[in-house]
């Protein structure tokens, strides 16, 4: 079963400089018990995508087209606010990027974890016991005492584990993680990723995992979505994307990953040019101004080309892999 099916989703923000289309025609699916990664440069619309799913877009933003189907039954873009709120924290929960600021500084950790369970019908003691149990699961030492402590008494890594514990406490069907490890150092990042994977398997939820870090995506995810300027340019199985990227942007993005450089390089490769102004999207392919493979037909909006089953790229030249072209 598909836990989350997003199709044709477009999101617009009204700004002083005009309407900004932050997402355009975004489609993808999150299958049951799978971890789907989302990669893309800063500003490509990753957080907007999450907020659209959660129904938490800023006041100046709205969904202008498309739908978000949750567990095959509920259409989130038209769901009334009360039912939407009932899903949040219960069936869909979220871990945000900033572990330092994600917990309320004046409420104890236990209190916050108890508050989250307010719909469960459990007694206060049961809620506290559940909170302790979750803290133990994320390996917070001395969990019985930890529930009475306040966020500032924990380290960054611990806070992020507490945030994960809180998110998984209600055993949601979908966990959304917006760059949950970006603020952590490398060793903590690995440990947190392993923990997340372990808990995901135990609970059996799906995860939509957003990250800048390609290494983490490769390690953790089953499927990957590559986003550029508010569009999904390529998506597919993690192995397909990493071994055989077809969209020139995805290709460049992988080339730019420092971890994938062979040998010592003096300069890290970059993608020339800048993200287009989302208030005035160019006609045709969004990546065309920066693309070294651009052709005449790229001035028309490219179709989504199926490279292999489950592997899609929105590019006119996607059928020909770059390496093959270079060899020709």
């Amino acid at each position: 079963m598909t836990v989350l099916a997003v199709s044709g989703l477009s999101v617009e923000f009204t700004t002083e400089g005009g309407t900004l289309q932050a997402l355009r025609d975004v489609s993808f699916e999150v299958p049951e018990r799978k971890i789907v990664g989302v990669v893309g440069e800063s500003g490509c619309g990753k957080s907007t995508l999450i907020n659209a799913i959660l129904g938490l877009l800023a006041d100046n933003g709205h969904v202008s087209a498309g739908e978000i189907l949750f567990e095959g039954a509920q259409e989130l873009t038209t769901l009334d606010p009360t039912s939407m709120r009932a899903l949040r924290g219960e069936r869909i929960s979220t871990v945000f990027q900033d572990p330092m600021g994600a917990l309320n500084p004046v409420l104890s950790v236990g209190r916050q974890m108890v508050n989250v369970q307010y719909r469960s019908g459990r007694s206060k003691a049961e809620k506290t016991a559940r909170a302790v149990e979750m803290l133990q699961k994320v390996r917070i030492p001395d969990a019985e005492k930890a529930v009475n402590r306040y966020p500032h008494e924990f380290s960054g890594g611990m806070k992020q584990r507490i945030a994960i514990a809180m998110a998984l406490m209600m055993e949601p069907a979908l966990l959304i993680a917006d760059e949950p490890t970006t603020a952590l150092d490398a060793t903590l990042e690995v440990a947190t990723i392993e923990l997340l994977k372990e808990l995901q398997e135990e609970i059996g939820c799906s995860v939509l995992f957003i990250s800048h870090h390609l290494g983490v995506i490769a390690e953790l995810c089953d499927e990957v979505i590559v986003m550029y300027a508010g569009e999904v340019v390529e998506r597919g199985d993690v192995r397909d994307i990493f071994n055989d990227p077809r969209h020139p942007y995805a290709h460049r993005l992988l080339d730019c990953d420092p971890a994938r450089q062979k040998g010592l390089v003096r300069h890290l490769p970059t993608i020339p040019g800048e993200i287009p102004d989302l208030r005035a999207r160019p006609e045709g392919c969004i990546f065309r101004p920066r693309c070294h493979r651009a052709e005449a037909r790229c001035t028309e909006t490219p179709p989504e080309i199926v490279v292999s089953p489950g592997h899609m790229a929105r590019c006119w030249v996607a059928e020909v892999p770059e390496r093959a072209e270079a060899a020709r």
Binding site: G89, A102, P105, V106, L107, Y118, Y150, A163
Partner: protein, 314 residues
């Protein structure tokens, strides 16, 4: 906690010492001899000399200062010359009236200012928000004695809803409270504006914080988010502001006590200045300085109770 107490106590000693030095120099520099003023024009030079000796005015300045300084720390603020009673006793008799007035002023400002500021922040940009904004600035701009006079004219004289003068029958709590309503409104009204502005600004800031987004992402009820998750943080600067603002409230209390002919420290100081009853002036001002310090400690303790981050720093 021990660290905090020591720091606070040290600061209190410094503040009170500075206040004492200023007061002493002021009284010493002002022309006119307190003893001859106290005794009136028909006193003989012998009588004046005797009183000067009793008040210690015949001693060198530094001895006078030392007597004043060391006496004050033990609660000996001298003798009030007109009634021949200890200054501290006279001041302490009046203190409860002023404390009640200030407590009333704080109650008005908190009870109106916090909900108004909260509502303005939650409904930012709405008509209600703008109305609260305009009214806040208006009540901040109006001096408290003007509020006092208008409150008196409207509610006591024209409508006759509330009593005009005095502090009420001693022992009759209800009567005392009705006598407190108008003067405390005069003291607190400007603060309704300050607090509404302050709470609105800090609420807007806190509502943007990522932990509020987390709370929303967990589907918590909006009411709980506003009051439990946001307001409990947004309130902190207001508590500090109130602690510091006590000084200003004390000076509004002077006007309110005069306009409403209420007993209290303000009225006491006012009368004492008119009669050049200097020991009483110094004593009353010193007691209010100590009051200021104490109220700021209380404000700190309240913040400590509300904010665990501050608490662990105590």
């Amino acid at each position: 906690m021990l660290n905090y107490a020591i720091k606070r106590l040290g600061l209190a000693v410094v503040i009170v010492s500075v206040a004492m030095t200023l007061l002493f120099s002021m009284i010493y520099l002002i022309p006119g001899d307190p003893a001859s003023v106290a005794l009136g024009p028909r006193a003989t030079p012998e009588m004046v000399a005797a009183l000067r000796a009793r008040m210690g005015l015949d001693q060198p300045v530094w001895v006078q200062f030392w007597n004043f300084y060391s006496g004050a720390w033990t609660g000996d603020l001298g003798i009030e010359v007109l009634s021949n009673r200890p200054v501290l006793t006279v001041v302490m008799e009046q203190l409860p009236f002023t404390l009640a007035l200030i407590a009333g002023g704080i109650t008005w400002s908190v009870a109106l200012g916090i909900p108004l500021g909260c509502m303005a922040a939650v409904r930012r940009g709405s008509f209600a928000d703008r109305l609260v904004g305009v009214l806040s600035v208006a009540v901040i701009a109006v001096p408290s004695f003007v509020v006092a006079i208008y409150a008196l004219l409207i509610f006591a004289v024209a409508l006759q809803w509330l009593p005009a003068i005095g502090a009420g029958e001693p022992g009759d709590l209800g009567d005392q409270l009705t006598h407190l309503i108008l003067p405390s409104l005069a003291v607190g009204l400007g603060w309704v504006g300050y607090i509404a502005r302050m709470v609105r600004a800090s609420m807007l800031e806190v509502l943007e914080a990522s932990h509020i987004r987390t709370a929303r992402a967990f589907g918590l009820p909006e009411r709980q988010i506003t009051y439990r998750y946001a307001l409990s943080i947004a309130i902190l600067p207001t508590v500090t502001l109130l602690g510091i603002g006590i000084g200003q409230m004390l000076s509004s209390a002077v006007f309110a006590e005069i306009v409403f002919a209420r007993p209290g420290i303000g009225k006491l100081v006012y009368d004492a200045i008119l009669t050049r009853n200097y020991p009483l002036v110094t004593g009353a001002v010193l007691v209010t300085t100590v009051l200021f310090v104490v109220i700021n400690v209380i404000a700190d303790l309240i913040i400590g109770a509300l904010d665990p981050r501050v608490r662990s720093g105590f």
